[in-house]
């Protein structure tokens, strides 16, 4: 696959994602008046940031911070209400599905709930092969096998149904589906929050390895700063639909600038009975 065109065009220095003034408002159906459309709640209120090639960006925030909405907007699962999103130089803010289709093999997503994100009526092999067929890849069987090998499941898993797998295994299938396309960018939305610590560590290590091996650009959404510390090179802290801090990971943990970031860090219970502040 010769998909990495923009990576070689170094002189222009084009970030993979350029986001300017991004706003998303969703209709509030609970407050729908008798007549007329429901009011809209602002989820994201004007975000500006870039994601450079090859970075692993951690996006962190509490519930209701808008982090998942941001992820879905980056992949154009929802259409922003304002601002622009450029992917590799192309303005995708309001592109329709036909226009997005050629780009869809260049960015992909791993979902939070692996059970709901895998079609229960299809076998693992078909689930991974589906996007490959769609984008006209050759040697699909082989690629599915390679992807399964990559995530450490082995090719025999292609014949299984999602409900026959454990939570950690399902999440690996989600990862295999995403990497099989050899995309440039992968968005991981809270992919370890439902897993046990041991599976969580395995999935994170796997992802860390794949990012390095495949030269992926990664956006990793999580509520857990500890996990981001391990995996990411940059952190973006969201609070009530705004970026309160966006900096290299070392800086944020050594010297958090925003009060909210400090609050988050202080609240994490370290496995250490003598942690100060507790």
């Amino acid at each position: 696959m010769a998909g990495n065109g923009s990576a070689t065009n170094a002189p222009g220095h084009l970030p993979l994602y350029q986001v300017r003034g991004l706003k998303v408002a969703l209709p509030d159906l609970a407050a729908k008046p008798l007549f007329g459309p429901p009011p809209r709640i602002d989820i994201l209120t004007g975000l500006d940031f870039d994601i450079e090639q090859g970075t692993a960006l951690g996006i962190v925030g509490g519930s209701g911070s808008g982090k998942s909405t941001l992820g879905r907007a980056l992949l154009r699962l929802i259409e922003p209400t304002g601002g622009t999103i450029r992917f590799a130089g192309t303005d995708i803010t309001h592109l329709d599905e036909t226009g997005l289709r050629p780009l869809r093999k260049r960015f992909h997503m791993i979902f939070q709930d692996p059970m709901s994100s895998l079609n229960p009526r299809r076998r693992v092999g078909a689930i991974i092969a589906d996007p490959l067929h769609l984008h006209g890849f050759d040697r699909v069987r082989e690629r599915v096998g390679e992807a399964l090998d990559h995530v450490g499941l082995g090719r025999a898993f292609a014949a299984r149904y999602p409900h026959e797998l454990s939570g950690g295994q399902r999440q690996r299938v989600g990862i295999a589906r995403a990497i099989a396309l050899e995309p440039e960018f992968i968005l991981a939305d809270e992919i370890v929050s439902g897993l046990d610590v041991s599976s969580q560590a395995q999935v994170l290590n796997l992802l860390e390895r794949l990012v390095a091996e495949l030269g992926l650009t990664l956006a990793f959404i999580s509520h857990d700063l500890s996990v981001i510390r391990r995996l990411c090179s940059e952190v973006m802290v969201l609070h009530r639909g705004q970026i309160v801090e966006h900096a290299p990971v070392g800086e944020v943990f050594a010297e958090p600038r925003a009060a909210y970031t400090r609050q988050l860090l202080d609240a994490i219970p370290l496995p250490d009975p003598d942690q100060p502040g507790w």
């Binding site: 610590v197 219970p269 496995p271 250490d272 942690q275």
Partner: protein, 292 residues
Amino acid sequence: MSAFLEIEGLSAVLAGTGARLLRSVSLAVDTGEVRGLVGESGAGKSMIGKAVLGILPKAVRVAEGAIRLDGHDLLAMRPADRRRLIGSVAALIPQDPLTALNPSKRIGPQITDRLVDILGWGKADAQARALELLGEVHIEDPERVIGRYPHELSGGMRQRILIASAFAAEPRLIIADEPTTALDVTVQKQILKLIGEMQAHHGTALVFVTHDLGVVSKVCQSLSVLYAGKVVEDARVADFFAAPRHAYSRALLAATPKYTDPAASLQPVDPSVIEAVTAEVAVADREWIHGR
């Protein structure tokens, strides 16, 4: 002098298959002690609390062992008597504050229903007690809150109310079943501090069920590490975090995230550790079957 809660050789099996879910669990929690039960999903940590409170799922049966609460052998009691005893000396703080309050009842009665219906308090006394408890859990304007319905309050507020409700009858044992798993990390800290504060104030024995060793290090004095329904390590918290004895405990601790030491944390569990602890469980099972 025996501990307030004593569990001895407790085994629970899945009806039908006979598979053991709890494997000869023994532990003791004394008045004023906070004990953590730690393990991954399926380790049986919640099952222990449910067995004590008599709320095991229908498909699960206690096969042998004893649970003594304040000297009473729970498993030997008539169900109605046991229910009454548990209702008056023990309480549960459940996991999910969003589903743990009855959506069609006001807050006040949900805090005091046990006092009125089981312990025979008068309505006015119960109401006064509810207000006092809401003050203790730092809820402002308790008069207003007792008339509210659960959906009108935030998750953190609801968890405070559940804590208040748990302490309503001055129980001597509280079982907290992953009480902060559903909360944001900043709210979690407040709630953990509150539970610790209430426990110290009332001198209650507290069993704290969690998957998070970080949380254990903050609220517990002792802990039991479970794997596949078996206690693999039983230790004081300070000793445990200084040097866990069991290989599985060490692996679990190494897998726990720790942002101050990213390279050493989030280590995948080595398959050999799982093999070893599984073998240990299998040996224990063989001995158990042999002994019966």
